[in-house]
Symmetry: C2
Subunit: 204 residues, 2 copies
DNA sequence: GTCTATAGGCAGATAGAC
DNA sequence: GTCTATCTGCCTATAGAC
């Protein structure tokens, strides 16, 4: 498993996706053009059309590669951290790492312009969130069984709150250009799930 | 106070803003054009330019009106709910009401395309979030004093988590078109701040 | 695979009549 | 205040040479 469908055949395709991903993360899908990609790469827009029939197809590939890589990182977390709480922190760490690279969650950005996206891209975006949710549910249920995590209600609701909280923290941190804003919100968010709270141990 | 700078002089200006606001919320600022507004209103783009010199100025007016109205609603909450927890719930209710009208937070959408926005719009967006934060800090500190709310760390961090959580819940609910998704996440979020938790009273 | 050249459409914006 | 007419520039996309 984990074998790549495409080898490093020409890798122009990959470099196009690299550039496009950065542009999409920073400017949104409606905020960049083929000319922007071509300009940054030193090629022409006609060349881009050789690799991707149109912007819609490029966009779909963009999300699919992004989601694939994200899923790989989740697998790595599973393999590295047996503890549910550590897994959650590593999960938040994926978002923080993005911000520290001066990037943002591609699907968070695309969610904001969801209605303008071509259908294949829309499906890929929800697919990404669905996968995140499934993974988080499994972590949350493990954590509950381990006695390391607590939450009221269904694991699915808690999972959605985590995705929402992290995506939102990233979204709001963006205008300020402050990674610290994201981190403070993330800590605050996960603190609500930790069973042993370090702060005021107010026995009722 | 609270006197409007402009009376209902011609109100074409206001109707333009109404239409543009809906378009911006649904498609993002880069996802609609003067032609879209004009088409929806049954006028021409030249007429739009009479009321707003350019799209940048229109955008700035859009945010300013939005922020003004939001601030008014916060004042109404202050006047209506003396209790801090009720205020927080009313605050989340503002977001829920937007979604139920099939709308989204204008500034949340704009935050996602922040880097592409003209400078005056960027300042207006951060101004909106700043105002939210200031209001929330005051509510959180009141709640702490009342003994109705609890949170670890600074009130400012908790405030930012609330804004992030609600904006994120709205963002992620959007691709699914499910208001319930937002509400579940919001409840989950505020539950972490309530001092008396209704769920498992697990005395440790 | 990459190029030049170009099509056809839409963007934001302006001049000037009414 | 709203219109017609028009400009310039950028957009995605294609044809066809190399």
């Amino acid at each position: 498993m984990a074998r790549r469908p495409k080898g490093p055949v020409s890798d122009t395709r990959g470099r196009i996706l690299d550039v496009a991903e950065g542009l999409a993360q920073h400017r949104g899908f409606n905020g960049f053009s083929y000319a922007d990609i071509a300009g940054e790469m030193g090629i022409t827009t006609a060349s881009l059309h050789y690799h991707f029939a149109g912007k819609a197809e490029l966009g779909r590939s963009l999300i699919e590669r992004y989601a694939e890589r994200f899923a790989q990182k989740l697998e790595e977390i599973d393999a590295t951290s047996p503890d549910a709480r550590a897994r959650l922190e590593a999960y938040a760490g994926l978002y923080a790492a993005l911000l520290e690279q001066g990037r943002f969650c591609l699907c968070g950005v695309l969610a904001a312009e969801y209605e303008t996206l071509p259908k294949p891209m829309r499906d890929a975006v929800t697919g990404f969130f669905d996968k995140n949710e499934v993974w988080l549910i499994q972590v949350l249920e493990l954590g509950k069984a381990q006695g390391a995590l607590q939450f009221s209600g269904a694991a699915a609701d808690a999972a959605r709150m985590i995705v929402a909280g992290l995506e939102g923290a990233m979204l709001v941190a963006r205008p300020y250009g402050e990674v610290a804003r994201f981190k403070a919100a993330a800590v605050q968010l996960l603190a609500g799930l930790a069973r042993t709270v370090p702060a005021q141990p107010q026995a009722g």
